[in-house]
Protein backbone atom coordinates (compact mmCIF):
# COMPACT_ATOMS: atom_id res chain seq x y z
CA UNK A 1 0.00 0.00 0.00
CA UNK A 2 1.56 3.24 -1.12
CA UNK A 3 1.36 6.13 1.28
CA UNK A 4 -0.24 9.26 -0.03
CA UNK A 5 2.44 11.85 -0.75
CA UNK A 6 0.84 15.30 -0.60
CA UNK A 7 4.12 17.15 -1.10
CA UNK A 8 4.86 15.35 -4.31
CA UNK A 9 1.32 15.83 -5.61
CA UNK A 10 1.03 19.55 -4.78
CA UNK A 11 4.58 20.31 -5.88
CA UNK A 12 4.09 18.35 -9.09
CA UNK A 13 0.84 20.08 -9.99
CA UNK A 14 2.13 23.56 -9.11
CA UNK A 15 5.37 23.05 -11.00
CA UNK A 16 3.60 21.58 -14.00
CA UNK A 17 1.19 24.54 -14.07
CA UNK A 18 4.03 27.05 -13.86
CA UNK A 19 6.02 25.28 -16.54
CA UNK A 20 2.99 25.21 -18.81
CA UNK A 21 2.45 28.91 -18.18
CA UNK A 22 6.08 29.66 -19.02
CA UNK A 23 6.14 27.34 -22.02
CA UNK A 24 3.09 29.12 -23.37
CA UNK A 25 4.92 32.42 -22.89
CA UNK A 26 7.73 31.18 -25.13
CA UNK A 27 5.36 30.85 -28.10
CA UNK A 28 2.53 33.21 -27.42
CA UNK A 29 1.87 36.21 -25.20
CA UNK A 30 -1.35 38.25 -25.21
CA UNK A 31 0.56 41.41 -26.19
CA UNK A 32 4.00 42.28 -27.48
CA UNK A 33 6.18 42.38 -24.36
CA UNK A 34 7.96 45.58 -25.34
CA UNK A 35 5.09 47.41 -27.09
CA UNK A 36 4.23 50.59 -25.20
CA UNK A 37 0.66 51.85 -25.36
CA UNK A 38 0.24 55.50 -24.32
CA UNK A 39 -3.53 54.99 -24.17
CA UNK A 40 -3.32 52.20 -21.60
CA UNK A 41 -0.85 53.31 -18.94
CA UNK A 42 -1.07 52.09 -15.34
CA UNK A 43 -4.33 50.27 -15.86
CA UNK A 44 -5.62 48.00 -13.14
CA UNK A 45 -6.31 44.34 -13.96
CA UNK A 46 -9.17 43.93 -16.43
CA UNK A 47 -10.29 41.47 -19.06
CA UNK A 48 -8.08 43.20 -21.63
CA UNK A 49 -5.05 43.17 -19.36
CA UNK A 50 -5.41 40.37 -16.79
CA UNK A 51 -2.55 41.71 -14.69
CA UNK A 52 -2.96 45.36 -15.71
CA UNK A 53 -0.34 47.52 -17.40
CA UNK A 54 2.77 49.31 -16.20
CA UNK A 55 3.59 52.99 -16.47
CA UNK A 56 4.59 52.64 -20.13
CA UNK A 57 1.34 50.90 -20.96
CA UNK A 58 2.98 47.46 -21.44
CA UNK A 59 0.88 44.40 -20.64
CA UNK A 60 2.19 42.99 -17.36
CA UNK A 61 0.93 39.42 -17.96
CA UNK A 62 2.90 39.19 -21.21
CA UNK A 63 5.98 40.53 -19.50
CA UNK A 64 5.62 38.17 -16.55
CA UNK A 65 5.31 35.23 -18.94
CA UNK A 66 8.44 36.14 -20.81
CA UNK A 67 10.28 37.25 -17.69
CA UNK A 68 9.57 33.97 -15.96
CA UNK A 69 10.82 32.16 -19.07
CA UNK A 70 14.16 33.96 -19.00
CA UNK A 71 14.47 33.40 -15.24
CA UNK A 72 13.74 29.73 -15.74
CA UNK A 73 16.24 29.47 -18.58
CA UNK A 74 18.97 31.06 -16.51
CA UNK A 75 18.17 28.89 -13.48
CA UNK A 76 18.25 25.76 -15.64
CA UNK A 77 21.62 26.66 -17.13
CA UNK A 78 23.05 27.57 -13.73
CA UNK A 79 21.92 24.30 -12.18
CA UNK A 80 23.13 22.34 -15.21
CA UNK A 81 26.60 23.88 -14.95
CA UNK A 82 26.74 23.43 -11.19
CA UNK A 83 25.50 19.87 -11.34
CA UNK A 84 27.69 18.78 -14.25
CA UNK A 85 30.97 20.06 -12.89
CA UNK A 86 29.96 19.34 -9.29
CA UNK A 87 29.31 15.74 -10.28
CA UNK A 88 32.66 15.32 -12.01
CA UNK A 89 34.68 17.04 -9.28
CA UNK A 90 32.76 15.36 -6.45
CA UNK A 91 33.06 11.91 -8.00
CA UNK A 92 36.80 12.18 -8.66
CA UNK A 93 37.54 13.68 -5.24
CA UNK A 94 35.38 11.21 -3.35
CA UNK A 95 36.59 8.17 -5.22
CA UNK A 96 40.31 8.81 -5.33
CA UNK A 97 40.76 10.94 -2.21
CA UNK A 98 44.33 12.01 -1.55
CA UNK A 99 45.96 15.38 -1.94
CA UNK A 100 43.91 16.54 -4.94
CA UNK A 101 40.77 15.82 -2.93
CA UNK A 102 42.06 17.74 0.08
CA UNK A 103 42.95 20.76 -2.07
CA UNK A 104 39.70 20.80 -4.05
CA UNK A 105 37.61 20.35 -0.90
CA UNK A 106 39.35 23.34 0.66
CA UNK A 107 38.76 25.39 -2.50
CA UNK A 108 35.07 24.48 -2.41
CA UNK A 109 34.93 25.31 1.29
CA UNK A 110 36.48 28.72 0.72
CA UNK A 111 34.03 29.46 -2.10
CA UNK A 112 31.17 28.54 0.21
CA UNK A 113 32.66 30.59 3.03
CA UNK A 114 32.24 33.80 1.00
CA UNK A 115 28.74 35.20 0.82
CA UNK A 116 27.85 33.81 -2.59
CA UNK A 117 26.13 37.00 -3.59
CA UNK A 118 29.27 39.02 -3.02
CA UNK A 119 31.27 36.62 -5.11
CA UNK A 120 28.73 36.81 -7.91
CA UNK A 121 28.95 40.61 -7.74
CA UNK A 122 32.73 40.42 -8.12
CA UNK A 123 32.48 38.15 -11.16
CA UNK A 124 29.80 40.33 -12.74
CA UNK A 125 31.80 43.50 -12.10
CA UNK A 126 34.74 41.94 -13.93
CA UNK A 127 32.78 40.29 -16.73
CA UNK A 128 30.02 42.89 -17.03
CA UNK A 129 26.29 42.37 -16.71
CA UNK A 130 24.30 40.24 -19.12
CA UNK A 131 22.43 36.97 -19.40
CA UNK A 132 25.41 34.74 -20.18
CA UNK A 133 27.68 36.37 -17.65
CA UNK A 134 25.16 35.83 -14.91
CA UNK A 135 24.81 32.18 -15.92
CA UNK A 136 28.59 31.88 -15.78
CA UNK A 137 28.91 33.64 -12.41
CA UNK A 138 26.09 31.78 -10.67
CA UNK A 139 27.06 28.49 -12.34
CA UNK A 140 30.53 28.60 -10.78
CA UNK A 141 29.04 29.41 -7.40
CA UNK A 142 26.73 26.43 -7.60
CA UNK A 143 29.51 23.90 -8.26
CA UNK A 144 30.70 23.48 -4.63
CA UNK A 145 27.32 22.54 -3.18
CA UNK A 146 26.85 19.77 -5.72
CA UNK A 147 30.47 18.67 -5.49
CA UNK A 148 30.21 18.31 -1.74
CA UNK A 149 27.05 16.21 -1.85
CA UNK A 150 28.39 13.93 -4.58
CA UNK A 151 31.76 13.61 -2.87
CA UNK A 152 30.16 12.44 0.37
CA UNK A 153 28.23 9.76 -1.48
CA UNK A 154 31.34 8.52 -3.27
CA UNK A 155 33.36 8.46 -0.06
CA UNK A 156 30.76 6.31 1.71
CA UNK A 157 30.32 4.01 -1.27
CA UNK A 158 33.88 3.43 -2.40
CA UNK A 159 34.83 1.06 0.43
CA UNK A 160 31.58 -0.88 0.62
CA UNK A 161 31.71 -4.58 -0.09
CA UNK A 162 29.78 -4.41 -3.34
CA UNK A 163 32.30 -1.97 -4.76
CA UNK A 164 35.13 -4.25 -3.63
CA UNK A 165 33.53 -7.20 -5.37
CA UNK A 166 33.08 -5.11 -8.50
CA UNK A 167 36.79 -4.43 -8.38
CA UNK A 168 37.53 -8.13 -7.90
CA UNK A 169 35.41 -8.89 -10.94
CA UNK A 170 37.68 -6.61 -12.91
CA UNK A 171 35.64 -3.42 -13.17
CA UNK A 172 37.78 -0.37 -13.90
CA UNK A 173 37.63 2.87 -11.94
CA UNK A 174 35.50 4.63 -14.53
CA UNK A 175 33.00 1.78 -14.68
CA UNK A 176 32.76 1.70 -10.90
CA UNK A 177 32.24 5.45 -10.70
CA UNK A 178 29.61 5.57 -13.45
CA UNK A 179 27.77 2.24 -13.36
CA UNK A 180 28.15 1.22 -9.72
CA UNK A 181 28.24 4.34 -7.56
CA UNK A 182 26.45 6.99 -9.64
CA UNK A 183 23.02 5.28 -9.49
CA UNK A 184 23.30 5.34 -5.70
CA UNK A 185 23.71 9.12 -5.67
CA UNK A 186 20.63 9.85 -7.77
CA UNK A 187 18.09 10.28 -4.97
CA UNK A 188 20.33 12.69 -3.11
CA UNK A 189 21.19 14.44 -6.33
CA UNK A 190 17.54 14.85 -7.25
CA UNK A 191 16.65 16.73 -4.08
CA UNK A 192 19.86 18.74 -4.38
CA UNK A 193 18.75 19.67 -7.90
CA UNK A 194 15.39 21.02 -6.78
CA UNK A 195 16.94 22.97 -3.91
CA UNK A 196 19.65 24.30 -6.22
CA UNK A 197 17.03 25.25 -8.73
CA UNK A 198 15.20 27.37 -6.16
CA UNK A 199 18.38 29.07 -5.11
CA UNK A 200 19.22 29.76 -8.74
CA UNK A 201 15.86 31.40 -9.39
CA UNK A 202 16.17 33.55 -6.28
CA UNK A 203 19.78 34.48 -7.00
CA UNK A 204 18.95 35.40 -10.58
CA UNK A 205 16.01 37.51 -9.41
CA UNK A 206 18.20 39.33 -6.91
CA UNK A 207 20.94 39.97 -9.46
CA UNK A 208 18.45 41.26 -12.01
CA UNK A 209 16.79 43.30 -9.27
CA UNK A 210 20.11 45.10 -8.89
CA UNK A 211 20.32 45.54 -12.65
CA UNK A 212 23.21 43.08 -13.06
CA UNK A 213 21.40 40.29 -14.79
CA UNK A 214 19.18 40.31 -17.85
CA UNK A 215 19.33 43.72 -19.50
CA UNK A 216 16.16 45.68 -20.39
CA UNK A 217 14.11 45.82 -22.52
CA UNK A 218 14.10 42.01 -22.22
CA UNK A 219 11.81 41.34 -19.27
CA UNK A 220 13.06 39.50 -16.23
CA UNK A 221 11.28 38.89 -12.94
CA UNK A 222 13.97 40.51 -10.82
CA UNK A 223 14.23 43.57 -12.98
CA UNK A 224 10.45 43.95 -13.08
CA UNK A 225 10.31 43.73 -9.31
CA UNK A 226 12.76 46.60 -9.16
CA UNK A 227 10.75 48.58 -11.73
CA UNK A 228 7.54 48.04 -9.82
CA UNK A 229 9.06 49.59 -6.71
CA UNK A 230 8.78 53.09 -8.14
CA UNK A 231 5.10 52.67 -8.89
CA UNK A 232 4.06 50.83 -5.75
CA UNK A 233 1.50 53.52 -4.94
CA UNK A 234 -0.06 53.89 -8.36
CA UNK A 235 0.09 50.24 -9.54
CA UNK A 236 0.55 48.00 -6.48
CA UNK A 237 -0.67 44.92 -8.40
CA UNK A 238 2.44 45.09 -10.62
CA UNK A 239 4.70 44.16 -7.69
CA UNK A 240 2.13 41.70 -6.42
CA UNK A 241 1.89 39.70 -9.63
CA UNK A 242 5.63 39.61 -10.27
CA UNK A 243 6.34 38.65 -6.66
CA UNK A 244 3.65 35.99 -6.71
CA UNK A 245 5.13 34.44 -9.84
CA UNK A 246 8.53 34.08 -8.16
CA UNK A 247 6.94 32.69 -5.02
CA UNK A 248 4.86 30.15 -6.93
CA UNK A 249 7.86 28.98 -8.99
CA UNK A 250 10.01 28.50 -5.91
CA UNK A 251 7.21 27.03 -3.84
CA UNK A 252 6.37 24.48 -6.54
CA UNK A 253 9.94 23.27 -6.73
CA UNK A 254 10.38 23.25 -2.94
CA UNK A 255 7.32 21.06 -2.51
CA UNK A 256 8.44 18.84 -5.35
CA UNK A 257 11.89 18.48 -3.79
CA UNK A 258 10.45 17.71 -0.37
CA UNK A 259 8.05 15.21 -1.91
CA UNK A 260 10.82 13.45 -3.80
CA UNK A 261 12.93 13.24 -0.68
CA UNK A 262 10.09 11.69 1.32
CA UNK A 263 9.36 9.30 -1.50
CA UNK A 264 13.00 8.23 -1.55
CA UNK A 265 13.04 7.68 2.20
CA UNK A 266 9.98 5.51 1.98
CA UNK A 267 11.27 3.33 -0.84
Amino acid sequence: MKKYNGFLLCGGILTAAMLLFILLGCFWTPYDTTAMDPNAMEQSPSWQHLMGTDKFGRDILSRVMEGAASSLFIALCVVAIGCFFGLIIGALCGYYGGIADAILTRVCDSITAFPSFLLALVIISVAGPGTYNIIFALGILFIPSFARIVRTEYVTCRDLNYIQSARLMGAGDLRIMVAHILPNTLTVLLSALTIGFNNAILSEASMSFLGLGVQPPTPSLGYMLNESRSSINSTPWYMLFVGATIVLLVLGFSLLGEGLQRQAQED
Partner: protein, 245 residues
Protein backbone atom coordinates in the same frame (compact mmCIF):
# COMPACT_ATOMS: atom_id res chain seq x y z
CA UNK B 1 48.64 -35.10 -7.21
CA UNK B 2 47.06 -31.91 -8.51
CA UNK B 3 49.03 -28.73 -8.52
CA UNK B 4 47.84 -26.20 -5.94
CA UNK B 5 45.75 -23.36 -7.43
CA UNK B 6 47.17 -20.95 -4.91
CA UNK B 7 50.56 -21.05 -3.31
CA UNK B 8 51.87 -18.66 -0.73
CA UNK B 9 55.53 -18.77 0.08
CA UNK B 10 57.21 -16.99 2.98
CA UNK B 11 54.81 -14.08 2.97
CA UNK B 12 55.51 -11.25 5.35
CA UNK B 13 53.72 -7.95 5.22
CA UNK B 14 54.22 -4.59 6.79
CA UNK B 15 52.52 -1.30 7.25
CA UNK B 16 53.87 2.08 8.15
CA UNK B 17 52.52 4.12 10.95
CA UNK B 18 53.68 7.27 12.58
CA UNK B 19 54.38 6.92 16.25
CA UNK B 20 53.42 9.95 18.32
CA UNK B 21 51.21 12.15 16.15
CA UNK B 22 51.66 13.43 12.61
CA UNK B 23 55.22 14.67 13.23
CA UNK B 24 56.39 11.50 14.90
CA UNK B 25 58.80 9.13 13.29
CA UNK B 26 57.62 6.54 10.81
CA UNK B 27 57.62 3.04 12.06
CA UNK B 28 57.34 -0.14 10.00
CA UNK B 29 55.10 -2.65 11.73
CA UNK B 30 55.09 -6.26 10.64
CA UNK B 31 51.65 -7.85 10.39
CA UNK B 32 52.20 -11.20 8.73
CA UNK B 33 55.20 -13.30 9.69
CA UNK B 34 56.60 -15.75 7.17
CA UNK B 35 53.38 -17.40 6.06
CA UNK B 36 53.44 -20.37 3.71
CA UNK B 37 50.55 -22.54 2.61
CA UNK B 38 48.75 -23.71 -0.50
CA UNK B 39 45.24 -24.51 -1.61
CA UNK B 40 44.51 -27.55 -3.79
CA UNK B 41 41.77 -27.67 -6.43
CA UNK B 42 38.38 -28.60 -4.95
CA UNK B 43 39.60 -28.22 -1.41
CA UNK B 44 38.11 -26.18 1.41
CA UNK B 45 40.70 -24.59 3.59
CA UNK B 46 39.61 -22.94 6.81
CA UNK B 47 41.39 -19.92 8.16
CA UNK B 48 40.74 -19.64 11.87
CA UNK B 49 41.83 -17.03 14.34
CA UNK B 50 40.63 -14.20 16.54
CA UNK B 51 40.14 -10.71 15.14
CA UNK B 52 43.43 -8.92 14.71
CA UNK B 53 45.25 -12.14 13.94
CA UNK B 54 45.94 -11.09 10.35
CA UNK B 55 43.17 -12.97 8.53
CA UNK B 56 41.99 -9.89 6.65
CA UNK B 57 45.52 -8.89 5.73
CA UNK B 58 46.16 -12.37 4.39
CA UNK B 59 43.00 -12.06 2.30
CA UNK B 60 44.17 -8.75 0.90
CA UNK B 61 47.48 -10.35 0.02
CA UNK B 62 45.72 -13.10 -1.93
CA UNK B 63 43.59 -10.53 -3.73
CA UNK B 64 46.65 -8.48 -4.63
CA UNK B 65 45.69 -5.52 -2.53
CA UNK B 66 48.84 -5.32 -0.45
CA UNK B 67 51.68 -2.98 -1.31
CA UNK B 68 54.35 -3.59 1.26
CA UNK B 69 55.18 -7.26 1.44
CA UNK B 70 57.91 -9.82 0.87
CA UNK B 71 57.51 -13.39 -0.30
CA UNK B 72 55.43 -14.86 -3.11
CA UNK B 73 51.75 -15.20 -3.90
CA UNK B 74 51.34 -17.55 -6.85
CA UNK B 75 47.95 -17.91 -8.54
CA UNK B 76 47.39 -20.79 -10.95
CA UNK B 77 43.89 -19.74 -11.94
CA UNK B 78 41.99 -16.62 -12.88
CA UNK B 79 41.19 -14.07 -10.24
CA UNK B 80 39.56 -15.31 -7.04
CA UNK B 81 36.14 -14.00 -6.03
CA UNK B 82 34.87 -13.15 -2.62
CA UNK B 83 31.76 -13.64 -0.48
CA UNK B 84 31.50 -11.18 2.37
CA UNK B 85 30.20 -11.52 5.88
CA UNK B 86 27.62 -8.75 5.76
CA UNK B 87 25.00 -9.60 3.15
CA UNK B 88 23.55 -6.09 3.41
CA UNK B 89 26.53 -4.22 2.02
CA UNK B 90 27.62 -6.80 -0.52
CA UNK B 91 24.88 -6.11 -3.06
CA UNK B 92 24.55 -2.76 -4.82
CA UNK B 93 21.20 -1.32 -3.66
CA UNK B 94 20.74 0.75 -6.81
CA UNK B 95 20.55 -2.22 -9.16
CA UNK B 96 18.34 -5.24 -9.70
CA UNK B 97 19.47 -8.76 -8.87
CA UNK B 98 19.60 -9.46 -12.61
CA UNK B 99 21.94 -6.56 -13.22
CA UNK B 100 24.15 -7.53 -10.26
CA UNK B 101 24.53 -11.11 -11.49
CA UNK B 102 25.04 -10.07 -15.10
CA UNK B 103 27.77 -7.55 -14.27
CA UNK B 104 30.60 -10.09 -13.71
CA UNK B 105 29.76 -11.69 -17.06
CA UNK B 106 29.63 -8.30 -18.76
CA UNK B 107 33.04 -7.45 -17.35
CA UNK B 108 34.37 -10.80 -18.46
CA UNK B 109 33.07 -10.05 -21.95
CA UNK B 110 32.87 -13.65 -23.17
CA UNK B 111 29.13 -14.14 -23.58
CA UNK B 112 26.53 -12.40 -25.73
CA UNK B 113 23.64 -10.59 -24.13
CA UNK B 114 21.20 -13.50 -24.54
CA UNK B 115 23.73 -15.98 -23.18
CA UNK B 116 24.34 -13.74 -20.18
CA UNK B 117 20.61 -13.47 -19.41
CA UNK B 118 20.27 -17.23 -19.67
CA UNK B 119 23.28 -17.79 -17.42
CA UNK B 120 21.83 -15.43 -14.81
CA UNK B 121 18.52 -17.30 -14.74
CA UNK B 122 20.29 -20.64 -14.56
CA UNK B 123 22.48 -19.44 -11.71
CA UNK B 124 19.50 -18.06 -9.80
CA UNK B 125 17.84 -21.44 -9.99
CA UNK B 126 21.00 -23.21 -8.86
CA UNK B 127 21.20 -21.07 -5.70
CA UNK B 128 17.59 -21.84 -4.91
CA UNK B 129 16.01 -18.60 -6.05
CA UNK B 130 13.69 -18.45 -9.04
CA UNK B 131 13.96 -16.60 -12.35
CA UNK B 132 11.48 -14.04 -11.00
CA UNK B 133 14.19 -12.63 -8.76
CA UNK B 134 15.81 -11.02 -11.80
CA UNK B 135 13.82 -7.82 -11.46
CA UNK B 136 13.94 -7.54 -7.68
CA UNK B 137 16.09 -5.09 -5.78
CA UNK B 138 18.41 -6.22 -2.95
CA UNK B 139 16.37 -4.43 -0.28
CA UNK B 140 13.39 -6.68 -1.01
CA UNK B 141 15.45 -9.73 0.01
CA UNK B 142 16.23 -11.26 3.38
CA UNK B 143 19.76 -11.77 4.64
CA UNK B 144 19.81 -15.42 3.57
CA UNK B 145 18.46 -14.63 0.11
CA UNK B 146 21.02 -11.87 -0.29
CA UNK B 147 23.79 -14.25 0.66
CA UNK B 148 22.54 -16.65 -2.01
CA UNK B 149 22.74 -13.85 -4.56
CA UNK B 150 26.23 -12.93 -3.33
CA UNK B 151 27.35 -16.55 -3.77
CA UNK B 152 25.77 -16.66 -7.22
CA UNK B 153 27.61 -13.47 -8.21
CA UNK B 154 30.91 -14.88 -6.98
CA UNK B 155 30.49 -18.22 -8.72
CA UNK B 156 28.90 -17.12 -12.00
CA UNK B 157 32.24 -16.49 -13.73
CA UNK B 158 33.41 -20.00 -12.65
CA UNK B 159 36.44 -18.94 -10.62
CA UNK B 160 38.68 -21.67 -9.23
CA UNK B 161 38.93 -20.06 -5.81
CA UNK B 162 36.31 -18.29 -3.72
CA UNK B 163 37.27 -16.53 -0.53
CA UNK B 164 34.40 -16.65 1.92
CA UNK B 165 34.88 -14.20 4.77
CA UNK B 166 32.61 -15.42 7.58
CA UNK B 167 29.79 -15.98 5.08
CA UNK B 168 27.29 -17.34 7.59
CA UNK B 169 28.13 -15.60 10.85
CA UNK B 170 25.60 -12.80 10.24
CA UNK B 171 22.77 -15.26 9.58
CA UNK B 172 20.27 -17.21 11.69
CA UNK B 173 21.29 -20.74 12.61
CA UNK B 174 18.68 -22.38 10.35
CA UNK B 175 19.70 -20.17 7.44
CA UNK B 176 23.37 -20.91 8.20
CA UNK B 177 22.84 -24.59 7.52
CA UNK B 178 21.14 -23.84 4.20
CA UNK B 179 23.92 -21.51 3.06
CA UNK B 180 26.60 -24.03 4.04
CA UNK B 181 24.76 -26.67 2.05
CA UNK B 182 24.62 -24.28 -0.91
CA UNK B 183 28.36 -23.67 -0.68
CA UNK B 184 28.92 -27.42 -0.67
CA UNK B 185 26.69 -28.02 -3.68
CA UNK B 186 28.44 -25.25 -5.62
CA UNK B 187 31.74 -26.90 -4.82
CA UNK B 188 30.53 -30.27 -6.08
CA UNK B 189 29.13 -28.75 -9.26
CA UNK B 190 32.04 -26.50 -10.23
CA UNK B 191 35.02 -28.03 -8.42
CA UNK B 192 35.62 -24.82 -6.51
CA UNK B 193 38.16 -24.34 -3.80
CA UNK B 194 37.20 -22.28 -0.80
CA UNK B 195 39.27 -20.29 1.57
CA UNK B 196 36.81 -20.21 4.41
CA UNK B 197 37.48 -17.59 7.05
CA UNK B 198 35.67 -18.18 10.28
CA UNK B 199 35.87 -18.10 14.01
CA UNK B 200 33.06 -20.62 14.40
CA UNK B 201 34.88 -23.92 14.78
CA UNK B 202 31.68 -25.95 14.58
CA UNK B 203 30.96 -24.58 11.11
CA UNK B 204 34.57 -25.19 10.12
CA UNK B 205 34.37 -28.80 11.22
CA UNK B 206 31.26 -29.33 9.16
CA UNK B 207 32.52 -27.80 5.94
CA UNK B 208 36.29 -27.79 5.71
CA UNK B 209 39.03 -30.26 4.77
CA UNK B 210 42.03 -28.52 6.28
CA UNK B 211 42.53 -25.83 8.89
CA UNK B 212 45.03 -23.02 9.29
CA UNK B 213 45.12 -21.53 12.77
CA UNK B 214 46.46 -18.00 12.88
CA UNK B 215 47.55 -15.88 15.77
CA UNK B 216 49.35 -12.53 15.78
CA UNK B 217 50.20 -12.81 12.11
CA UNK B 218 51.67 -16.29 12.34
CA UNK B 219 50.32 -19.68 11.40
CA UNK B 220 50.52 -21.58 14.67
CA UNK B 221 49.09 -24.85 13.44
CA UNK B 222 47.83 -26.38 10.22
CA UNK B 223 46.54 -29.77 9.18
CA UNK B 224 43.51 -31.93 8.46
CA UNK B 225 40.33 -31.02 10.25
CA UNK B 226 39.99 -34.48 11.83
CA UNK B 227 43.54 -34.46 13.09
CA UNK B 228 43.40 -30.96 14.55
CA UNK B 229 40.06 -31.45 16.24
CA UNK B 230 41.07 -34.81 17.67
CA UNK B 231 44.58 -33.89 18.64
CA UNK B 232 45.39 -30.19 18.77
CA UNK B 233 49.08 -29.51 19.28
CA UNK B 234 49.25 -25.83 19.98
CA UNK B 235 47.98 -24.28 23.18
CA UNK B 236 46.03 -21.63 21.26
CA UNK B 237 44.20 -24.23 19.17
CA UNK B 238 43.23 -26.05 22.32
CA UNK B 239 41.82 -22.82 23.74
CA UNK B 240 39.82 -22.18 20.59
CA UNK B 241 38.38 -25.68 20.60
CA UNK B 242 37.49 -25.44 24.24
CA UNK B 243 35.70 -22.15 23.65
CA UNK B 244 33.68 -23.67 20.82
CA UNK B 245 32.23 -26.47 22.91
Amino acid sequence: MDKPILEIKNLSSFYERRAGGIFGEKERVQILHDISFSILPGETLALVGESGSGKTTLCKAILGMLKDYTGQVIHRSQRPQMVFQDPFSSLNPAHTIGWILEEPLRLQGKLSKQERKAAVVEMLEQVGLGADYVNRKPDELSGGQRQRVAIAAAVITRPALVIADEPVSALDVTIQAQILELLRSMQRRYGLSYLFISHDLNVVYELCDRVLVMRDGRIVEQGDVQRIYANPQHEYTKQLLKAAQ
